[in-house]
Amino acid sequence: MAIALVLVLVVVGSVLFHALSPWWWTPIASNWGYIDSTLVATFWITGAVFSAVVLFMAYCVYRFRHKEGQKAAYEPESRKLESWLTLVTAVGVAAMLAPGLYVWKQFVTVPKDATEVEVVAQQWQWSYRLPGADGKLGTSNARLINADNPLGINPEDPNGQDDVVVEAADLHLPIDKPVKMLLRSIDVLHDFYVPEFRAKMDMVPGMVTYFWFTPTRTGTFEVLCAELCGTGHGFMRGIVMVDTEQDYTSWLQQQSTFAQLTGPAKVGALADQAKAVAAME
């Protein structure tokens, strides 16, 4: 008997907890409001199913609990009921899947005008690279990484010379401009995760992954690593500031390009290394 009551309490408690708890996602700061809506819709559907199933169980336990002289019914199956339940479930599942896939299509379709921004992860810090005036990022290669070229940018590639390098510092982004985040790791898996942007993606050494979003709110947002990357994982934090156009431009002007950072003295040495690596591969 107590169990029937507890089952009801599980439903009531869970619903109340959901409605009243202060724990909910952080206010969104990107264009992915659709993700939030799909999530809320999923909460409604699954919440209804959970409540229905558990309350039905509670009723059964209450109504059909053993009493002296009681006998259970003998009913091996019911084609009709089983078909109906299957059908209703399939419809409910499709109702969640369809919007999900629709939004996923948007998530994986990067708008043409998105600016590329590169994030480079290593144990345990974040660095960034922005395309310079030419709007293009130069190529890169892990084998080129050394103290003078921490991101492994190809010194032979003219596109790379004006790339803006932000090593282990904050990233700034202009508001309302779509960005394609190109994600690269030089050692192990990491994951670039800013809760307010809703999007995230693993960074895999040996390849470049990506996602896109449009920042919709200015402010300071914390970057967390969301893929286990060794003992420093929980402490691998960074900052993304979403700025007005003006603030962004003035920040950008204070940054240095790859060419400025290497300086004429080191260019020769880096270029030799690049040739050696190219010959090896």
Binding site: W24, T46, V54, F64, A72, Y193, K200, T209
Partner: protein
């Protein structure tokens, strides 16, 4: 109406092959230690699994202490946290649940339930256990190895798993882990082949496939799946071992490790993830399907009613088993694999929800118009349905690719998988132990300790894992030993974490009562008799309790009906055993 029985009583064909000579032990050693009797092997498997499971439980307390009260315990460094976490996850999934359901319940129940005297290959069956034990010992050894066990997460993702930034990565830790898994798989394969062949070839006369109890269907399907899935893990382990030990580069691209260029080149970390999850997703069902099967029998027996929609239940088990091989990459939506895979894997994943939902409907419909005895096994079965439905539904969030993006790698995932493959199957384990302990020992488990254990475990586990979803929703990532000062995490989350820790310690305490009960009741439990639950299946109709070597008397039982003839109208009692030629029913003699 339905035709669950192809054969009537007189149609049961005579045995085609005579009985094989059973191996008979001659000494104490061959009877109790190097035993070839599946029942002894089952108890060895279960005991070992519970012992190592206790280690995983203690590790969960240590993790929860750290999460609830960060900074209080100096010895829980981030390294230690990751080591606890990895060992906890790996032990729970593989060395406890897989071993217990297949090696424990599989060994005990398959021969008894299908009406066989033992497994088909008893010697190989014995080897299976000893290799499993060796795997466990190697795993335990890694705790004492220099540098400690691996802290790479139970997913063991390279490159970090074999690099210096991860505990045990460059020491023996990871090697012992991989070797232990390889041993486990070898041992499992020996047992697994036995379970499959015994179900297919060892059934007694009249025991058609569609008369098997769902417990056997669940364990059988899970074993077939495990035989297909474990090889993927096996090769992944071997390849990673090569990468780590002899400098190959299966999973290792050119990288810079702590400022040094590594000698590796050209490998693919994502390939490991595909191999891992090709094993890892079916693994979820390798644990779940035996639980599905067992819980069906618990509900039917204790509600004194046939399981509703038996044939649909069988097809759902087989369908889920098959589908679960084409959903693995839903664990990899944000792994960097080609994003278009998302469409395919989200669709297959949500399709699996349909047969899964059917199973849930049929369980609750079995309760409808039943004669529900609220015994401890029944209580645990009800708790299973609640937690399984809860965890299954949050799976719809994570399976629906785009909804997974904000939630993946957060505490929401941790809450989800604990609910669905931690708590739910464990509820069935408990239910099953209370149900079959009387058969294994001849005595009932103590009722009051049992009820205390049930209430604390069910309510406590729900209080641990339900609120945890919301911690994830806030955005707290998983695998973080502490949250530090993070602007978007309000202080109330820390309070909630303390609450969850207190709940976890309480639930942990209740498990000690359970363990005590297991030992105490061997001597002090109430006498059970042969069939205390008045159940239909063959294990309750043996020639004595606990069943003797060879299980049944001189003659093997002949089966006349399905396993679910409860409350048959007009029958003298509210159950008719499977080997009772008695009156004709829908599942009995035509």
């Amino acid at each position: 109406m339905v035709d669950v029985t192809p054969h009537g009583a007189d149609l049961i064909p005579p045995a085609e092959v005579g009985e094989m000579e059973l191996y008979h032990p001659h000494s104490w050693w061959t009877k109790y230690v190097f035993s070839q009797d599946a029942k002894v092997i089952a108890i060895q498997y279960s005991g070992t699994a519970l012992a190592i499971g206790l280690v995983a439980l203690v590790l969960s307390w240590l993790m929860r202490l750290q999460l609830g009260f960060p900074g209080t315990f100096d010895f829980i460094t981030p390294e230690a946290y990751y080591q606890f976490m990895t060992m906890h996850g790996m032990i729970m999934v593989i060395y406890l649940l897989t071993a217990l359901f297949l090696g424990g319940f599989g060994n005990y129940l398959i021969p008894l339930m299908v009406g066989a005297r033992d497994m088909v290959f008893p010697y190989v069956n014995m080897l299976s256990y000893w290799i499993y034990l060796l795997a466990v010992l190697v795993l335990v050894a890694s705790f004492f190895a220099p540098g400690g066990p691996t802290g790479a997460g139970w997913t063991l993702y390279p490159p970090q798993a074999i690099l210096s930034g991860t505990p045990g990565g460059t020491g023996p830790g990871i090697i012992l882990m991989l070797v232990s898994l390889i041993l486990f798989i070898i041992g499992f394969t020996m047992g697994g082949l036995n379970y499959v062949v015994t179900v297919l070839q060892g059934r007694t006369r009249g025991m058609t496939l569609m008369r098997l109890p769902l417990t056997v269907w669940g364990i059988f399907t899970a074993t077939v799946m495990a035989l297909l899935a474990f090889p993927a893990l096996f090769v992944a382990c071997v390849m990673m071992l090569f990468d780590r030990a002899i400098g190959s580069s299966f999973f290792m691209p050119a990288i810079v490790e702590m400022g040094e260029q590594s000698p590796h080149n050209g490998g693919s970390p994502i390939m490991f993830q595909h191999l891992f999850w090709f094993f890892g997703h079916p693994e979820v069902y390798i644990v779940a399907l035996p639980a599905f099967g067992i819980v069906s029998d618990l509900i039917s027996t204790h509600a004194r009613k046939n399981i509703f929609g038996y044939r649909m239940m069988v097809w759902a088990i087989v369908g889920i088993g098959a589908l679960s091989f084409v959903v693995w990459a839903h664990h990899m939506y944000v792994s960097g694999m080609h994003p278009y895979f998302g469409f395919f894997f989200a669709t297959t994943t949500l399709i699996i929800a349909v047969p899964t939902a059917i199973k849930v409907y049929n369980w609750v419909l079995t309760l409808w118009r039943g004669d529900i005895h609220l015994t401890i096994p029944m209580l645990f079965a009800l708790a299973f349905i609640v937690t399984f439905v809860n965890g299954g539904l949050t799976g719809l969030f994570l399976g629906n690719v785009v909804v997974d993006v904000p939630l993946s790698d957060t505490m929401f995932v941790v809450a989800h998988f604990h609910m669905v493959m931690g708590v739910a199957p464990i509820m069935v384990v408990f239910g099953a132990v209370y149900h079959w302990y009387p058969k294994m020992t001849g005595r009932m488990l103590n009722e009051w300790m049992g009820r205390f254990h049930f209430w604390v475990t069910f309510i406590g586990a729900y209080l641990i894992f339900f609120p945890m979803h919301y911690v994830g929703l806030v955005g707290v990532p998983r695998r973080y030993p502490e949250l530090g000062d993070t602007a978007f995490i309000p202080p109330s989350v820390h309070t909630l974490n303390e609450f969850i820790t207190v709940a976890a310690l309480t639930v942990g305490f209740a498990q000690l009562v359970f363990l005590f009960n297991l030992f105490w009741s061997i001597r002090h439990g109430k006498e059970a008799g042969d069939n205390p639950w008045r159940a239909t299946t063959l294990e309750w109709q043996t020639a004595g309790t606990p069943p003797p070597h060879g299980n049944f008397g001189k003659e093997l039982p002949v089966v006349y009906r399905w396993a679910y003839d409860y409350s048959v109208p007009g029958a003298a009692e509210d159950f008719i055993a499977q080997n009772d030629p008695g009156p004709a029913t829908q599942g009995g003699p035509a």
